[in-house]
């Protein structure tokens, strides 16, 4: 049974239909890369999965249990929040909380939601920060860190709530080129540790190496999907070819 099953997601903003029926599934421990041109609906899809937008139609299931159904409106706020916690999200703009230190950023949600005993939260947070290579900077504030460091903190923060699936929304787009490497390295290590992930990215080479499966999203539909190397190296559809050509030039 796949860990995530997305069925027929539709989303419309005013007049334009951004998602026109997206379905895919993801196995536990796999990495899904989502590529496509701007305005193709990649970010909207990720936001629908993370409950930041409400899809107009479709369902989302995790481990066989339906956690979102567009036709069902009677979910309480608490249930919705609980369902949403199956996912973690790393933003393009990091969105760290500026008034908190690195450690406080990571610990805030687990402490407020009383997920674990305090001592355990500290222990887990420290080990997460060590994992992203920032255990020496726990008392710094976000404004004292480089963009790459901030994004690594954001990854640790997303992991702190122990999500089943970690999502990335163009995690390196806001970074200077020389800083992307350190973030990509962390994501790659997570993939090696069999973290289930969905990565929306413009870094085609990275997506190819990292992902088990790639979806090419174009004008709100899945234009092509398949094993990463096949989609990137040997695309079947004209639209995919055109996109890959344009981006690699």
């Amino acid at each position: 049974m796949p860990i995530l099953e997305v069925k027929d997601i539709h989303k419309r903003f005013d007049r334009s239909e951004v998602l026109k029926g997206i379905s895919f599934s993801l196995e536990k421990g796999d990495v899904l890369g989502i590529i496509g041109s701007s305005g193709g609906g990649k970010t909207t899809l990720l936001r629908c999965i993370n409950f930041l937008e409400r899809a107009d139609k479709g369902t989302i299931s995790v481990n066989g249990k339906v956690i979102f159904d567009a036709d069902q409106h009677d979910l309480t706020v608490e249930q919705q929040r609980e369902n949403q916690l199956n996912f973690g999200l790393v933003f393009q703009q990091f969105n760290l909380f500026p008034q908190y230190t690195v450690l406080e950023n990571v610990e805030l949600a687990p402490r407020l939601l009383k997920r674990y005993p305090d001592a355990e939260i500290r222990e887990r947070s420290m080990s997460l920060l060590k994992r992203v290579g920032l255990d020496q900077k726990i008392d710094r504030y976000p404004c004292q860190l480089s963009g790459g460091q901030q994004q690594r903190v954001a990854i640790a923060r997303a992991l702190a709530m122990n999500p089943s699936i970690l999502c990335f929304d163009e995690p390196t787009s806001a970074l200077d080129p020389e800083l992307t490497g350190e973030v990509l390295k962390v994501i790659r290590e997570l993939a090696e540790a069999k973290m289930t992930m969905i990565v929306v990215t413009h870094e085609i080479a990275f997506a190819r190496d990292l992902s088990d499966k790639i979806i090419f999203l174009d004008h709100g539909v899945i234009a092509e999907e398949g094993p990463a190397k096949q989609v990137i190296d040997n695309p079947q559809k004209e639209r995919t070819k055109a996109f890959l050509n344009a981006i690699q030039k």
Partner: protein
């Protein structure tokens, strides 16, 4: 004479400080409620609150004082403030707190709306409730942004307390002016300026300290 003047000015100054502190204590929290009202997704509430804010900010505080204190008796023949000093003080507090809540609410609204959507979303995807997102994440950032404009309003309030005299609450200016009326001496009125200057000077320093305290983050 100098001693007599200082004594009476100090008594007036105590009333001025009372007006100042109680207005802040009332208007700072009430302003937040007004701000939420003016940003409400429930349209009728939003319209009503913004209309009230428009009226309060669009008319002089002195007029509001007179209307609030004399209005009930003059227009409806129902004096709600009773007679004597406590009713006057209460009326002044009501007028001041309403007035300053409206001014503060606009500052709060500007501050709240200046926080990026990403901060709310980051809190939301971590599973925090809306209340937690507001109080644990957004509020301090809002406070940092509103300290300078709030400082301006607070300094203005120091001087606005002198309006209380129109309904005979004996604050500092009143105390200074009585010497002109009863003894024909003018300098005590000028002396009140020193009290205001010292007081607003102290506030300026405190506000600068507070601002500095919040300068550790962006």
């Amino acid at each position: 004479m100098v001693q007599e003047v200082m004594l009476r000015l100090c008594a007036g100054f105590v009333k001025t400080i009372e007006l100042f502190l109680l207005t802040l204590a009332g208007a700072i929290p009430l302003g937040l409620i007004v701000a939420f009202g003016s940003m409400s997704k429930f349209k009728p509430l939003k319209i009503v609150v913004r209309f009230i804010v428009w009226i309060v900010r669009g008319t002089p505080l002195m007029l509001q004082l007179i209307v609030i204190y004399y209005g009930p008796g003059l227009l409806f023949h129902q004096n709600i403030w009773g007679m004597g000093t406590s009713g006057r003080f209460t009326a002044v507090m009501v007028a001041f707190i309403i007035n300053y809540s409206c001014y503060f609410s606009e500052i709060y609204r500007g501050g709240i709306e200046s926080i990026s959507k990403g901060q709310y979303e980051a809190g939301q995807v971590l599973g925090l409730t809306r209340r937690q997102v507001f109080f644990k994440i957004v509020l301090l950032q809002v406070i940092k942004r509103i300290v300078p404009p709030m400082g301006n309003e607070i300094i203005t309030l120091v001087k606005d307390t002198s309006l209380a005299r129109v309904i005979a609450v004996y604050e500092l200016i009143w105390a200074g002016q009585t010497f002109i009326k009863s003894d024909g001496i003018i300098w005590p009125l000028f002396m009140t300026g020193i009290f205001y200057l010292v007081f607003s000077g102290i506030l300026t320093v405190l506000l600068a300290k507070f601002e500095k305290k919040l300068s550790y983050f962006n």
